[in-house]
Symmetry: C2
Subunit: 240 residues, 2 copies
């Protein structure tokens, strides 16, 4: 049994120019792992319509789920919603359901629901709104693509809304053993261990601390019993 | 005049599973911006040969430079060098120049240059080695692809070696103005400013602090005079 797959598309010049350090990829990766959806690819593209459309089409076709972050605010550089509509040949305009949410919000605030703010109610036909408990302006789901804000607090709230809609597989379990020897010393036996447990993924993550080499060996898979058995063999191979 | 373009390929299950938070993308983005190379796309893929080969081919064709990180150590899950060779139809084996570097290193250490460590000397034909002053095992450049380690200290040292080989354009300059008003209030005038300065990129990055909305407006471009002029107009539009 293989788990469902996911890809993420991060949209924004600020990430690619090094101005902002992306936080959403790391968050989403952890959340998907917990529910047994395998995040297989992440792409980061700039605020460029062609780049966004090409990436959305490729990822939507290649994976079970796609999550996007960024580019759904009110300013001129927020073009994600229009690009998603273009990728799926859908009409897009200010939609009554999204406009009503925002109108009520700005009425409460005593602010004007002006043209810029109305951009945030541009939703493609047939898309389903994603609730935004932080700042109201909704995300949306079209086909297998979940379109979310880039601001981390809003992104995280939207992920919480959408995760229950994803059908996860077996959660990915993992155990880690730290081995205080260089990777070059452990790689041979480790490769044999990996062959003996073909359903598990065995990764080696080297580090250097106080001048000494070591590696964290992480054994991952959905079969807890197999992981236990592999950990026992691993500990026997490299006694502390 | 347009700047040369670059893409980055991050290779590693540990990023996609949420175990490790990538640090190399943010570092590379900042370094490329300084020398006037526009980072246009980042992809993160798992330790899967097909995924790596497909991504390397696409990015090598689509951009002037490609930088990869991860998967060049001695363990069985380090398959990047073989995948790069496959992507460019090159023969790959333990190469004398790389083996000599590593042999000398392990001789000094008094360690055995065993089969696992010899994996780190697997270099495709026609590739040029990239110096690794941190832990010796070299990266390499093949065509327009620079192949580097994933460990951040090694990645950063390799980037320092390779940057002088890249022909940069005009460095990207930027100025930022913080405006303590919601994006919805500033988006209209901001869009007009963007139209008036078509050679500049004007981005709006909203924040919420102590219950109040604001946005950092970042004006980027290679023409310092144009940025100054746009900043003057921006400040007039939104007096403090």
């Amino acid at each position: 049994m293989t788990n469902p797959t996911a890809a993420m598309l991060v949209i924004g010049d600020e990430i690619l120019s090094g101005r902002t350090r992306d936080a959403n990829m790391y968050f989403l990766a952890g959340e998907l792992t917990k529910i047994g959806v395998d995040l297989k690819e992440v792409r980061v593209v700039s605020d460029d319509a062609d780049a966004i459309v090409v990436a959305v089409k490729a990822l939507s076709k290649g994976f079970d789920y796609v999550v996007t972050s960024g580019g759904i605010g009110p300013t001129h550089d927020d073009i994600t919603a229009d690009c998603i509509a273009a990728a799926f040949d859908k009409h897009i305009d200010v939609r009554a359901d999204a406009a009503a949410l925002l109108q009520a919000h700005y009425d409460r605030q005593g602010s004007e629901f002006n043209d810029a703010r109305k951009r945030m109610a541009r939703i493609p036909d047939d898309a389903v709104l994603i609730d935004n408990p932080v700042s109201v302006a909704p995300g949306f789901t079209l086909h297998n693509v979940h379109v979310m804000a880039g601001v981390p607090s809003v992104f995280q709230a939207m992920v919480a809304s959408v995760l229950p809609l994803m059908t996860g597989g077996a959660p990915l379990l993992s155990q880690t053993l730290r081995i205080d020897r260089g990777e070059g010393d452990i790689a041979g036996p480790l490769a044999k261990l990996a062959l003996a447990f073909p359903t598990l993924s065995i990764g080696s993550y080297p580090f250097q601390k106080d001048g000494a080499y070591g590696a964290n060996i992480v054994i991952r898979g959905s079969d807890g019993g197999a992981i236990d058995a592999a950990m026992v063999q691993l500990a026997e191979l490299f006694p502390a």
